[in-house]
């Protein structure tokens, strides 16, 4: 697609997203679409790591959790306003991600998946297994990271005071802005030197290396850059629900987000977002068949990886190429 094409698709989607809550002002819909925007942000950044750089990292949800916990803890322990805590949390996430990136530097494909999975699991276990009381204020014993119950009452974004009944719309538009920025950011990266470097490394590693393109350098950059919006999305997730717990580490959520990327189209600009919207929608439709939801999701993932490994956007591109 040309720049103009991307722009048209982007503006159209933006117009629909802006109009949506005014056309259907249903609390439930607004909340769910807000969540879809958050997940959309996460997968567009994950896509930079996996789809563009080809690093199969499973730590992305752990980074999301780092952002969420950092924001919540800054609010909870220091009483920071979430508006300040969120960007700071995003920067903390960047630092953590760079550390993970350094650890993964020398590893090949599936080893990266294992290491990142192990790191995510360590974080989860530390949060869940630490049952010593760090503070006993308020509701009694609370471990440092909140333990199994998680953290609540760390402040809010202030939309209730400002918008009253419609406070959810405040969150909705923050999420939309977040997603839009993340998308523009990932478009710039994909088209910029980083994206080119990775394409060169993937298509012809020998030539790329002889031209001085260092995988190490770019790999660290992609870990750092993609972490910012992932952490910010996590921080906003905590702010949006005004609570955070270890469920963000769940395998089920990880699967859900991988499925979004796979169904939409790994490595494409719009694919992950399309996948996020489609899967959130499908999830809603299947709400009445909750018990079949996870089995269906699993089968869907297998189906796509076998028949349409390029995802829906890949399918569209392929058809366009055939027509051309």
């Amino acid at each position: 697609m040309s720049w103009r094409g991307h722009l048209i698709v982007g503006l159209l989607s933006l117009a629909i997203a802006v109009a949506l809550p005014f056309v259907f002002n249903i609390n439930y819909l607004v909340t769910q679409v807000t969540l879809a925007f958050i997940y959309g942000t996460v997968v567009t950044q994950w896509n930079l790591v996996y789809g563009v750089a080809g690093i199969f990292s499973l730590a992305q949800m752990a980074l999301f959790a780092v952002g969420a916990y950092a924001a919540a803890m800054l609010g909870f322990y220091f009483g920071w306003s979430l508006w300040i805590a969120m960007p700071v949390a995003a920067l903390i996430t960047v630092v953590v991600s760079v550390l993970i990136g350094l650890a993964c530097l020398r590893l090949r494909g599936p080893y990266v998946a294992l290491l990142t999975l192990a790191i995510a699991q360590v974080l989860y276990l530390v949060i869940v297994n630490d049952t010593d009381c760090y503070t006993t204020e308020g509701s009694g014993c609370l471990p440092f990271f909140g333990g199994v119950r998680g953290l609540t009452r760390f402040g809010e974004l202030g939309f209730r005071e400002w918008l009253g009944e419609d406070w959810r719309l405040g969150n909705y538009f923050v999420a939309l802005a977040l997603l839009a920025l993340a998308l523009i950011f990932s478009a710039v990266i994909m088209r910029g030197p980083l994206g080119l470097a990775f394409r060169a490394l993937r298509d012809n590693p020998g030539l790329a290396r002889s031209r001085g393109i260092s995988r190490f350098k770019y790999q660290i950059w992609v870990f750092a850059l993609s972490a910012f919006f992932t952490g910010l999305a996590g921080a906003f997730y905590a702010a949006n629900y005004e609570s955070i717990g270890p469920t963000v580490f769940s395998f089920s959520l990880l699967l859900f987000l991988i499925a979004m990327m796979t169904v939409g189209g790994i490595g494409t600009l719009w694919g992950p977002l399309l996948g996020a919207i489609l899967l959130m929608g499908t999830d809603e439709v299947l709400r009445d068949y909750q018990e079949w939801r996870d089995i269906g999701l699993g089968l869907l993932l297998v189906f796509f990886v076998i028949l349409l490994p390029q995802g829906l956007v890949g399918l569209i591109n392929w058809r366009r190429e055939r027509v051309d």
């Binding site: 080893y111 297994n129 395998f251 796979t262 699993g298 076998i306």
Partner: protein, 294 residues
């Protein structure tokens, strides 16, 4: 006194290690021959555990039949994994990562199928033997000894199969050089299916063993699978013999860590070890450096 503690740690460490070895060997074989990281391994363990539970509990069959049911179920699921998914993906350019995604999907299907069939509440594994023997002042349950013996027997069988049999030779040959194996007349698809069936059966047996100590629940495979991965990584993915020794070593370390650090942080410590090993030796402790050709 200290000798008794040591005996205790060794006894439980060996039992743990033996269980891990059984599940890890399958995982390692699959990686070695297909280049496939199977995240559905934990689901296979759960299915194995519940198959024995169903055969002995609901059908009232005797103990060997319970074990056999698990083996058959594991093999069947392995065959399904190959014929239902993997064979269609072998030609894909991004096979290594795509197949991981597919197995993540399968893992989900398996876990939720168990959930639907047997419910979420924990169950007791009926495949048990009662009684214990005395080693010095330490009481070692017969169940642990049965686990250890079964595991050793299985490892021996697998080693014999790989080393001595015609088909085992073909499995090794395919892992070393797929194309050369084809030129010897090996039907690679058949070998892959066989390896997945074998790995499935081993996972199922380890599921029975693990659940006989910890009980059954749909998500029971998650932790042991992660441990099996740890062992694989420490040994170097695909290194079957390294995996057995690493499994026994990690079983002992875990038993020791639980004694010294308590149950809560034993697993986290293990994970930290993996992280350090991976950073220090990216191809595992016994793994060789992969040479990338340009």
């Amino acid at each position: 006194m200290t000798l008794d503690i040591l005996t205790q740690i060794i006894a439980s460490g060996l039992t743990l290690g033996a269980m891990y070895a059984v599940s890890t060997v399958g995982l390692s074989l699959v990686w070695g021959s297909l280049g496939m990281l199977n995240l559905a391994h934990g689901g296979l363990m759960a299915f194995g555990g519940y198959s024995a539970y169903y055969a002995m509990g609901a059908l009232g069959l005797p103990l060997p039949a319970g074990l056999l049911a698990a083996i058959l179920m594991g093999g069947l699921l392995g065959a399904l994994t190959y014929h239902g998914a993997v064979r269609f993906m072998l030609r894909q350019k991004a096979f290594e990562t795509n197949v991981v995604i597919a197995t993540v999907g399968l893992a989900f299907v398996l876990e939720n199928a168990v959930l639907k069939l047997f419910g979420a509440q924990a169950q007791r594994q009926p495949l048990q033997v009662e009684g214990a023997i005395q080693v010095g002042n330490v009481v070692v349950p017969l169940q642990n000894i049965l686990i250890l013996a079964t595991a050793l027997l299985l490892m021996l069988l697998v080693a014999l199969l790989l080393k001595k049999s015609r088909i085992g030779r073909a499995v090794r040959a395919t892992a070393m050089n797929r194309e050369a194996a084809q030129l010897m007349g090996v039907r690679v698809g058949q070998i892959y299916a066989l390896v997945l069936m074998l790995a499935g059966a081993l996972a199922a047996v380890s599921g029975v063993m693990i659940s006989s100590l910890t009980g059954l629940s749909p998500g029971m495979g998650a932790d042991p699978m992660l441990k099996a991965f740890i062992i694989c990584v420490v040994a170097g993915l695909g290194n079957v013999y390294g995996a057995v020794s690493a499994a026994l070593a990690l079983g002992l370390i875990e038993a020791l860590a639980q004694f010294v650090l308590g149950v809560r942080f034993g697993f986290a410590t293990l994970l930290l070890i993996v992280i350090v090993v991976l950073i220090w030796r990216p191809n595992g402790l016994f793994g060789r450096q992969q040479v990338t050709r340009l």
